[in-house]
């Protein structure tokens, strides 16, 4: 199967929250970034993929196994997970934690773990509860990477970290996917981080998947223009994907190939596109 994750028609409802009809594929060997505001359903989607919570309907396949397969637990050995908080026993040191993990994962790689501890400069004798947030996340990542995973599921793994550590982590993700059968699903609300590493971007908004597209194509497809109100009215309504009206003019997100070439388009970042689409409601 060419996809590391295949989600079809996935539904999950909580009182006051609905994750609705999600279709999402993560092609093997690529990095998919899941963007969305707080409460959009990113974490719910990742937990559903792990079968940490039960879905209402739909099918999910992870690394060739259906979520309902009796031996789905075996697949979890091949998935490295980092959630937004690391929950390890507070009194353990990194070295003691290793002993626990060696019993948890059958393909635990002691040497890899030790190398990551060194690379991340994690203290060996310090107890987990005294770790800083950056250290905790690095430790969780070291554990996730040390049992030879084929897939990484990262839920807000880079948020709350300083730019240096985040960049280090992005490098690591980049390195991890040098292997053709290594894939990553990463959620974040730091869009610029995702823009740096992702091949695909999926945008979750109020429980619905508004778009899932190749990152570079998105940037090619949309452009921001700054125009007067009259010009805006003259514009083909089909070409308009979103707008922000100000006192002295209008900023509009447009489809590049539907506007006259005389329009001066601004350099458009992924963040601009996401913000405009979130406000205007995307039409794909």
């Amino acid at each position: 199967m060419p996809n590391a994750i295949e989600i079809k028609g996935l539904n999950k409802s909580y009182p006051g929250f609905l994750l609705e009809d999600i279709h999402l594929d993560l092609p093997r060997g690529s990095i998919l970034g899941l963007v969305g505001e707080n409460g959009a359903g990113k974490s719910t989607l990742i937990k559903l993929t792990l079968k940490a919570i039960n879905r209402d309907s739909g099918t999910v396949r992870v690394l060739d196994a259906d979520l309902d397969d009796p031996d789905f637990g075996r697949i979890k050995e091949e998935v490295g997970v980092v959630l937004d908080e690391a929950y390890y026993p507070e009194v353990l040191t990194a070295q003691q934690l290793e002993k626990v993990m060696a019993y948890t994962f059958s393909n635990w790689d002691r040497e890899a773990y030790q190398n990551y501890l060194k690379r991340f400069q994690l203290p060996e004798q310090k107890k987990f509860r005294n770790f800083s947030r950056g250290m905790k996340m690095k430790l969780a990542l070291a554990v996730a990477l040390s049992h030879d995973p084929k897939l990484l599921l990262l839920d807000e793994a880079t948020s709350g970290l300083d730019p240096m550590i985040r960049d280090e982590m992005l490098d690591l993700f980049n390195e991890f996917t040098r292997e053709e059968n290594h894939s990553i699903l990463i959620s974040s609300h730091i869009v610029s981080d995702l823009e740096k590493v992702c091949d695909y971007i999926a945008f979750l908004h109020q429980g619905k998947l508004l778009l899932c597209e190749e990152k570079d194509r998105l940037v090619e497809k949309y452009a921001v223009v700054k125009i007067g109100r009259q010009d805006l009215e003259a514009l083909d309504p089909e070409a308009l994907a979103g707008k922000r009206e100000g006192k002295y003019g209008v900023e509009a997100l447009v489809y590049r190939d539907l506007i006259p070439s005389t329009f001066a388009t601004e350099h458009t970042s992924l963040e601009d596109i996401i913000l405009f689409l979130a406000k205007g409601g995307a039409r794909g």
């Binding site: 060997g29 690529s30 980049n174 390195e175 996917t177 040098r178 053709e180 740096k196 590493v197 992702c198 091949d199 190749e214 990152k215 570079d216 940037v219 090619e220 388009t265 350099h267």
Partner: protein, 132 residues
């Protein structure tokens, strides 16, 4: 070989790779039969998307600059002289367009441009025109 990716330019990233690899092939930096970096390797080294890199390679293959050997990688294809000529023509055209845009701005006629070209040609051939 050096490749630079600009994120601010209006040129799509795949086109930037396409053009830089093509130029390297046309200028001889990459020679016939040379193995190109692997798509995944290049993408990761440049910190860009694998799909985008693949798209650039696909375009290069379509245009006949490289060919793929299954399981081995992409190699620089034998130079097609006609293609090289066409590419050079296209570049000359590009430069001339700039000239034609600049000339009217300072009132230089096309006769003067032609004269200038002849003068430059002579200079290039090593027989300088007598100075005025």
């Amino acid at each position: 070989m050096e490749i630079f990716i600009s994120n601010t330019g209006s040129n799509p990233i795949y086109q930037q790779i396409y053009e830089q690899l093509r130029n390297a092939i046309l200028s001889g930096t990459l020679k016939e039969g040379d193995l190109l970096p692997s798509i995944r390797g290049l993408a990761k080294d440049l910190r860009i998307s694998v799909i985008t890199t693949k798209r650039a390679y696909d375009e290069l293959e379509k245009a006949g600059y490289i060919h793929t050997v299954a399981g081995k990688g992409c190699y620089v294809a034998p130079k097609n002289t006609e293609q090289v000529r066409a590419e050079h023509c296209r570049r000359i055209e590009e430069h001339l367009r700039v000239v034609l845009r600049l000339a009217p701005a300072c009132g230089i006629s096309s006769e003067e441009i032609t004269a200038l070209i002849h003068k430059l040609q002579k200079e290039e051939q090593g027989c300088p025109t007598p100075s005025k």
